[in-house]
Symmetry: C2
Subunit: 453 residues, 2 copies
Amino acid sequence: MLNFASMLRKLLLFGAGKSASYLINYFIGKAEEENWALTVADTHTGHLRERYAGCAALSISEVSADDEASCMQLVSDHDLVISLLPAFLHIRIARWCLAAGKSLVTASYVDAPMQQLDAEAKAKGLIFLNEAGLDPGLDHLSAMALIAELKEKKAEILSFASYTGGLVAKSSDSNPWHYKFSWNPRNVVLAGQGSCARYLDNGKYKYISYPRLFKHTTRFDLKENGIYEGYPNRDSLKYIRHYGLENISQMQRGTLRGEGFCKSWNVFVQLGMTDDSFIMETKSPVSKKEFLNSFLPSFKGMEPEEKLRQQLGADIDDEILENLAYLGLFSDREFLTLKEASPAGHLQSILEEKWKLEENDKDLVVMVHRIKYRHEGKSYLLESSLVTEGENAAYTAMAKTVGIPVAIAAKLILNGKIPEKGVHIPLRDYWYRPVLRELREYGIVFKDRITIE
Amino acid sequence: MLNFASMLRKLLLFGAGKSASYLINYFIGKAEEENWALTVADTHTGHLRERYAGCAALSISEVSADDEASCMQLVSDHDLVISLLPAFLHIRIARWCLAAGKSLVTASYVDAPMQQLDAEAKAKGLIFLNEAGLDPGLDHLSAMALIAELKEKKAEILSFASYTGGLVAKSSDSNPWHYKFSWNPRNVVLAGQGSCARYLDNGKYKYISYPRLFKHTTRFDLKENGIYEGYPNRDSLKYIRHYGLENISQMQRGTLRGEGFCKSWNVFVQLGMTDDSFIMETKSPVSKKEFLNSFLPSFKGMEPEEKLRQQLGADIDDEILENLAYLGLFSDREFLTLKEASPAGHLQSILEEKWKLEENDKDLVVMVHRIKYRHEGKSYLLESSLVTEGENAAYTAMAKTVGIPVAIAAKLILNGKIPEKGVHIPLRDYWYRPVLRELREYGIVFKDRITIE
């Protein structure tokens, strides 16, 4: 077998944002042992130059993903590429990787354009591994380990549900939404748009539209770890086949939020405040109250609270109004700060101020799988959960649980441990065994509880 | 001045669908007088070959818009191009027109890619006239004539609202939705998706989201011509500038439907049944009841009527349930007919069967403008309306009111009557004067009523 570590391997990371901190440290920490070097490419790199001044294993390249020539040169000069950039940029990077003959790792969902590169990647002997972060990523790895174990002992799996949330630790939870941003705020604002969420329930295919998504929640009581609500996430149906669960009667993947979040967020959905498709007309300065009012009818002398009750009826209660008030949406003394933006852009800007993870705040990642199965004539519920807190706003649980799985996956590819080629997500044992094993070193450990049903 | 009619002019029409009948007859009828010849290009042309057998002025070309080489050849061989194809194809045709140096007329909204061709079209001395059909089209022409008249007499225009509907004549109204398809059913199913509807009300910009669009209706009592409801249509704000109404306090464009239509259609919007972004999983055959149930939760033993009341609350009433029942949505004896389709695709297929305009059915076009203005110290409401019935399913009011304005606009361009170049919509007097004058010959006449407020 080749001794890969005897050669210098050059890794290229696109994206130095919120999720990159642990990943960069992972590569730097193992640079000598593994004989690799890391280049980080992003449009903003000031924070890296400060944090990693004098670090020999790290090169920093200030470059935009729109600068095709420079990016292509970077890709050609490295042995493996990782992208933590916004998901829509991955396809561009994947094409550069194809041209230069390099493998790629991302933490994002495989979309149709990425899937279409499968044959070409295979033909060139490359791996394009996607969905290798937290959710999607660690959810697949941990689920596949549980499913393999159950199949091993000939249990019949009846139902599968998996929910994940990037939240805020109780000690840092200082707002009534029980939420602060630990990752890309834009993704939070746009979450759920585009297509119906799809899942399997009682053996039936179910489709939940965006207008109903945040009303359609499931309660999760994780005892000492808190109470959450989950809403369905994207297309769960395709994971029936991915997970080898063709005879299952329930398959649901979802997103966790704190209690009361979803019904309040639903107001934004109903009113169109998450619409990112057009630039709003504004006669500046616009107060936040005027912003809210622009999604409500003109009724002379009626306050927006009253209009909300009248327009959204049962979708409004006191707790929701308090949550909106917390954001300043009833205030004519707080103003929009952006000049030209979509409704979603203005909303994001408001939330970034109010939901900021402060320097010493700790975020929280919660993942829970619920698997029902029959074994030797009895029915069981297996609940497997991960609850992990971040250190501070730079070293978040989110960055850890996204970055370290991605980093380990990249290492496995670099070290020739992965036999598959083409476009993949991490489902096979050669992914989940080593990744889950190494994650234990970082305190990322699932707790299982089995109850007889 | 050139005598254009002394030269043979060759017109090319892309699209022989529901809206083309009057337009084709217009060109054939005037072929000798105007010395022009028409080529109609479409993927399906059988009905034309039958209807126009032996007609020397008409050539028929069976071609797909995907066959770029053949289409480009056709464009090059003609003097002016008209497109009645689905709107997303216009940009492709516009590019062929640019390459071949031909002007273009469409009945669709100007989108950003079309607008971007403005400079190049101008540089080449071409006119790309869009929004030249009924709505958009005749609404602009008739509105601009009224606005010019009011401005002429120094009236101050306070508010403008314009609503249009393609409906079914009372004598052919045989279903509880009061609706039959007189144009592209796909456009009806997808109407309102994409962006918030935008308008001006009481001097404030207002944005109405898709989930609220069909709940946000205005009642129109047109006396002997019936009672309608209107919902806001797309972006009305941009027409403030187009119409030269910068000081107005209300600007609304909207779509008319029969009473009760919108609240019933709202159920499809809420449930996600108009989602066109993914192919549904189906284990065929799927009953219409199962189709409906797939957008509702699994509650054992509960009928979908009950679930609808429970899930949508105040958005459900008996009339709505009757309308859904009329479509067979509670039936386990009626089945989906398509194998692979999006929710919107299946819904369209159900509606095409139930809302078919039968051979001798008459459709109905209703357009109404409401303009409030002050003149010499008094306030007035001007209501200008057009109500016109079709002859039968082939010669519809829709085809007449879309096709004849497009045809006259094309004639004006061909005959050198139009000074403007570039990407336009028909707003200026050299459009509305001759088009409205000639439309009178076809019985397309607005009735005005002025009341003192």
